[in-house]
């Protein structure tokens, strides 16, 4: 690991003042960033520790929740309000990492964690357009079992590894940012960028911009939500595919539906066209299969992940059937 400066922010303005320096990164629990520093993939000159900033989980005026970015994953998962109103979020968080990591990892850090593509991690031995733009990608013709099928590009097929973010995307979460240019709010589903020919640019965050909190809008009334994760072992593995879905059925018709996909794209992947196709339909296999078809219509695969469209398709249908069955 290269030498670096460390300081702990005492307040949000303090963090933003410090975070504006060159080659400075904000540090949450470090469960991903410190790993990347050990590998030499991240080489910040300075870290500004923001774990002392707000980690509270509070009710908002419009019936939602405001979660401080420093809240631990465990705190969010165990929050009674989250468990009751956003159960898919609790499920998603608890399906990720290990208890020890969840106890440390922050909400802000979870959102900004980087891909687990092993070529991205192999600083010395492999090419990666994310690490060194333009040098090529060894994953495209290499080991890509865990890689993306939606939103990927010729330069990068890496996935965003978070479970939590998939559920947040399904709940239309809003990310509150503060930076040298002021404050703004970005929908979580729009925070991460697709790789295109600049896979090194992963989010819309401006230099020095800090995630201060995540806002969950009021949960749809009478809706059911869940999260299903499919992976290569029963725990402590990243998703091959995952689905977070919210479904509200009224008078035998789908009144509201949200579907977010994980493990298949460079970002938590909302499937709005599939959702639109479902609204007003009779819940059932026919409609769900059609929605899954739409959701995966743009999928592209490599030999290592050629199974993913079918697995994702089956999982989407199963999750929606599960929610529809529970709604009856």
């Amino acid at each position: 690991m290269r030498p670096f400066a460390y300081s702990k922010a005492t307040s949000e303005p303090d963090a933003i003042a410090r975070g504006g320096e060159t080659a400075t990164k904000f540090l949450g629990a470090g469960t991903n960033l410190v790993d990347l520093m050990r590998e030499g993939v991240e080489v910040p000159a300075a870290l500004v520790d923001v774990t002392g900033l707000s980690g509270s989980i509070e009710e908002t005026d419009n019936g939602g929740l405001m979660i401080g970015a420093a809240a631990s994953n465990t705190a969010v998962a165990e929050s009674a309000a989250v468990r009751e109103r956003y159960p898919a979020l609790t499920r998603a968080i608890l399906s990720g990492a290990s208890a020890q990591i969840r106890n440390m990892a922050t909400v802000g850090g979870n959102i900004l964690q980087r891909t687990r593509c092993t070529y991205f991690y192999d600083l010395e031995g492999s090419r990666c357009n994310k690490r060194r733009p333009g040098e090529g990608c060894d994953a495209i013709d290499g080991f890509n079992r865990g890689h993306g099928i939606l939103g990927v590009s010729q330069d990068c097929i890496a996935t965003h590894p978070s479970d939590m973010c998939v559920a947040l995307a399904a709940f239309d979460a809003l990310v509150h940012l503060a930076g040298p240019g002021g404050r703004r709010i970005v929908p979580l589903a729009d925070l991460h960028r697709l790789p295109g020919d600049t896979p090194d640019v992963e989010t819309v965050l401006a230099p020095g911009e800090l995630i201060t909190s995540v806002e969950l809008p009021a949960a749809p009334v009478d809706a059911r939500s869940t999260y299903r994760k499919v992976r290569d072992r029963a725990s402590y593995a990243f998703a091959l595919v995952s689905v977070a879905a919210v479904l509200r059925v009224t008078d035998g018709r789908i009144a509201e539906v949200r579907i977010a996909l994980g493990g298949v794209a460079p970002k938590p992947w909302r499937t709005r066209e599939a959702e639109d196709a479902l609204v007003g339909a009779t819940p059932g296999e026919t409609a769900f299969v059609r929605a899954a078809d739409i959701a995966l219509s743009g999928a592209t695969t490599r030999p290592g992940n050629a199974f993913k469209p079918e697995l994702m398709h089956r999982t989407i249908v199963a999750v929606l059937q599960d929610l529809a069955g529970a709604s009856e």
């Binding site: 687990r116 072992r233 725990s235 593995a237 199974f307 089956r314």
Partner: protein, 792 residues
């Protein structure tokens, strides 16, 4: 046959050797009820084979008790010091730089930035490394312990992707790691063979442990073509890497011409001899200790990091601690090689095998003597009229492949036991019944009599414990919601081994205690605990009164914790040392005392006394003997006889594994819901340790079945998942409660009746899982690991 040198006989030993069934473990949930077994296959002993006359084989004494590990409290309290926890004054820390090409030469190494980095003490590359002899690999010489014979940092050549090309020593580990990251290396890459296909294009019949891996009897292909029922199947198994909980490490110092090493090795003496030869010094000028080893599994041998640490320590004139990162372990310490195998079975309609063909290819490096001997179970498990068994091997530019728990048989039993299941289905015969019908009455390939074999009892007991439903060609799988549930079984197999070189020293002291000293290794399996129990039983002392020293190359013998044979090797060494001790004690008996004038051969030890074997009431206590001869202690050391028993008899451990799996009908996810293993491994010396060994092996085999897979990038020979996060092994949720049991029938030809239990658990579960998956889903998966995409 070769007569063992230990010709001691015990006059009243029961030469008829009717096994005393009371010696089988009783009273434990993990123990087969004696009554459940019948007709144990036991052979008459050959006259003169001392072990066959060994009273301990049938002793009803304290052996077998579920004693806890002696080092357990130390480990739980964090007081057990491992290789990377020892220090020397002035010690510095080492870090390695690994190559990023598979073959070629180093054009230039720029160490300037690293030299200038904080804390850096010394940097070694091929340009300043001392001249060193190439290390001797395991099986290339009687004392070889290295993973490969490649010269270590002797020139600019690169032989695999991940080879160490520079060593950085610094005041702290962090500084060493940082400086290592600043070393810049330019390579001239050469063409490398990094694909399995290219490596095996010209594969040749392999040699292993001094013999060709080939056996031909009759015309198996013709028999297959004529068989009433047959299967002819292709299988593949992946590359795997070692993941011991303790990453490899060594702490070394040169002290007054002595190379002092705190190591983690499975063979303290062989490691010391091998590194001594590399440095051109006498083995007695190496003092190597490894009191605790955090998992070995075949991978804790002598690797380049040991040699590089010692070389750098000598040049820098500073003690060095070299702890490999997890990535470092993957880069320079080998694992299991991949295989492609064919199994073809022909049978009559009665299920009796007319043809058994087991052939295939694997890869190794050009600089070791390790080919996966994956036909060994096929050589000894089933009778067949005609057989063709053959392993062909090609060489590849890669990290040295090496031994990994149950080398050969782990990957060989998977196809054999899967093919039998497929054949059973075609025949409409229950898979257990098919195996019983092909149970040989003597070794199928050597023709020798079995020393002891009760696999049929294991099948029956396993079936009973598991609740096996007999089947006749029809799947019995059922559905529970989303989950398809099925059951399957397989045989387990592992050869008996006892490597030469065993020796032990026993010292009796006037306080009524004994010290046993043996240069054995303890990887966590309970060597000192089992050794103390055997020694106590043999000496006639309480278990608590026997102390054991091990893990130090200056102690007697040259033992190695490998091949599931260290316990047997120690057992034979203790027998020999005990005989020598009895002779010493006999010489102390004063005139006029009981036993005076009796030949040593007529004496033995019991109840803290030297006794007349034929009449133990005639005795003199150790304390009395020592006091009357004016001594405070007496010591005897002896070597174990050569392993003649393994030449005379067909000696193997066997077992039966039954499991239930659940396969998700939607996603293909696989869960193991139940598993039972019943083993026939001779006498069990400690129920608790044995159960852990069996369970550990079963978990490792489930891992092989479900997920383990080294991502070896065939484009450049680089391992792409060198971490516990990316290389999957089971987490707790992947492992069900594991039921284990054993026949406990002593092997009359194995020291103390025990054949060895460390690896057999590895063999069988992977095939039982695949067979259960078929029962659940109707799908036959013949390439490991069985990941969900193969089951969708």
């Amino acid at each position: 046959m070769t007569q063992p040198s230990d010709k001691r006989s015990v006059p009243n030993a029961d030469n008829g050797l009717k096994l005393n069934r009371r010696t089988m473990l009783a009273g434990s949930a993990a123990t087969i009820a004696v009554a459940a077994l019948s007709g144990a296959a036991t052979a008459e002993p050959a006259p003169g084979l001392s072990d066959a006359r060994d009273p301990l084989v049938r002793s009803p004494g304290g052996l077998g008790a579920a004693r806890p590990r002696r080092d357990g409290p130390l480990k739980v309290r964090g007081e057990a010091r491992f290789a990377a926890e020892h220090t020397f004054p002035g010690m510095v820390y080492g870090a390695l730089v690994f190559s990023t090409i598979a073959r070629g030469t180093i054009r230039a190494i720029d160490t300037e930035a690293a030299q200038a980095a904080p804390g850096v003490v010394f940097i070694m590359t091929h340009e300043n490394a001392p001249q060193l002899a190439p290390p001797e690999p395991f099986y290339s010489s009687p004392t070889g312990m290295a993973g490969s014979s490649l010269p270590v940092m002797q020139d600019a050549s690169v032989h695999w992707n991940g080879q160490p090309v520079a060593v950085v020593l610094a005041a702290t580990q962090e500084e060493a790691d940082h400086a290592a990251s600043l070393v810049s290396v330019a390579y001239d890459a050469a063409d490398a063979v990094t694909s399995f296909e290219a490596a095996t294009a010209g594969a040749e019949v392999a040699k292993y442990a001094g013999r060709d891996l080939q056996y031909v009897a009759g015309d198996a292909e013709a028999a297959l073509a004529e068989a009433a029922v047959s299967v002819d199947l292709e299988f593949s198994t992946p590359r795997q890497n070692h993941n011991q909980i303790e990453p490899h490490a060594v702490t070394v110092a040169w002290q007054d011409g002595i190379l002092r090493m705190h190591d983690c090795t499975q063979g303290v003496d062989l490691s010391a001899i091998t590194i001594a030869k590399v440095f051109g010094i006498a083995p007695s000028d190496v003092h190597l200790t490894a009191e605790f080893v955090g998992g070995g599994l075949g991978g804790k041998t002598l690797w380049q990091y040991h040699i590089l640490a010692a070389a750098a320590a000598r040049l820098a004139e500073r003690p060095v601690r070299m702890t490999l990162s997890r990535e470092g372990v993957y880069r320079i310490c080998g694992g299991r090689a991949p295989t492609r195998q064919r199994i073809a079975l022909g049978a009559g309609s009665d299920g009796r095998l007319t043809a058994l063909i087991h052939t295939g290819t694997t890869v190794k490096i050009a600089h070791n003597a390790m080919t996966e001997p994956f036909i060994d179970a096929s050589e000894h498990m089933y009778r067949a009229d005609a057989m063709h068994l053959e392993v062909r091997v090609g060489t590849m530019d890669m990290l040295a492949n090496t031994f990994m728990r149950a080398p050969g048989s782990a990957v060989g039993t998977f196809p054999l036991e899967t093919a039998l299941d497929e054949l059973a289905e075609k025949l409409g015969i229950d898979p257990v019944e098919l195996r019983i019908r092909n149970e040989p009455d003597k070794d199928p390939t050597t023709g020798k009599a079995f020393s002891q074999r009760a696999v049929v009892e294991a099948y029956r007991e396993g079936a009973r414990r598991f609740g096996w439903q007999r089947r006749s060609g029809k799947r019995l799988g059922r559905r529970e919601g989303e989950w398809l549930v099925g059951t399957g079984m397989a045989s387990a197999y592992y050869p008996y081994k006892r490597f030469p070189g065993g020796a032990a020293r026993i010292t009796l002291t006037s306080d009524g205690k004994a010290l046993v000293e043996v240069a054995a290794a303890e990887m966590g399996m309970g060597t000192s605990t089992a050794t103390a129990a055997v020694a106590a039983e043999r000496l006639g002392l309480a278990y608590e009164d026997v102390d054991v020293r091990y893990g130090d190359n200056t102690l007697p013998g040259s033992l190695i914790a490998a091949g599931s044979q260290q316990t047997a090797a120690i057992g034979a060494s203790l027998t020999a040392a005990h005989a020598a001790l009895v002779a010493e004690l006999a010489a102390l008996v004063p005139e006029g005392a009981a036993l005076h004038g009796q030949p040593a051969e007529a004496l033995t030890t019991l109840d803290r006394s030297l006794v007349l074997a034929a009449n133990p009431a005639e005795r003199i206590s150790f304390a009395d003997l020592l006091a009357r001869s004016g001594r405070t202690s007496i010591s005897a050391e002896a070597k174990a006889p050569p392993p003649a028993e393994a030449k005379e008899w067909s000696m193997h451990s066997t077992g039966a594994v039954f499991c239930e799996v659940k396969v998700n009908a939607i996603t293909g996810e696989l869960r193991i819901s139940r598993i039972s293993g019943v083993y026939d491994c001779g006498r069990i010396l400690n129920e608790k340790l044995a159960a852990s060994q069996f369970r550990g092996g079963i978990i490792m085999s489930l891992s092989m079945a479900m997920m383990e897979n080294t991502h070896f990038d065939e484009r450049n020979g680089r391992i792409m998942n060198p971490s516990l996060a990316a290389y999957y092994m089971p987490a707790h949720l992947d492992v069900p409660e594991i039921d284990v049991a054993w026949t406990g029938i002593p092997d009359p030809h194995a020291p103390t009746g025990a054949r060895g239990i460390g690896e057999i658990g590895m063999n069988g579960p992977s095939a039982a899982v695949a067979n259960a998956i078929y029962d659940a889903t109707g799908q036959r998966i013949r390439d490991l690991p069985i990941t969900l995409d193969k089951l969708m």
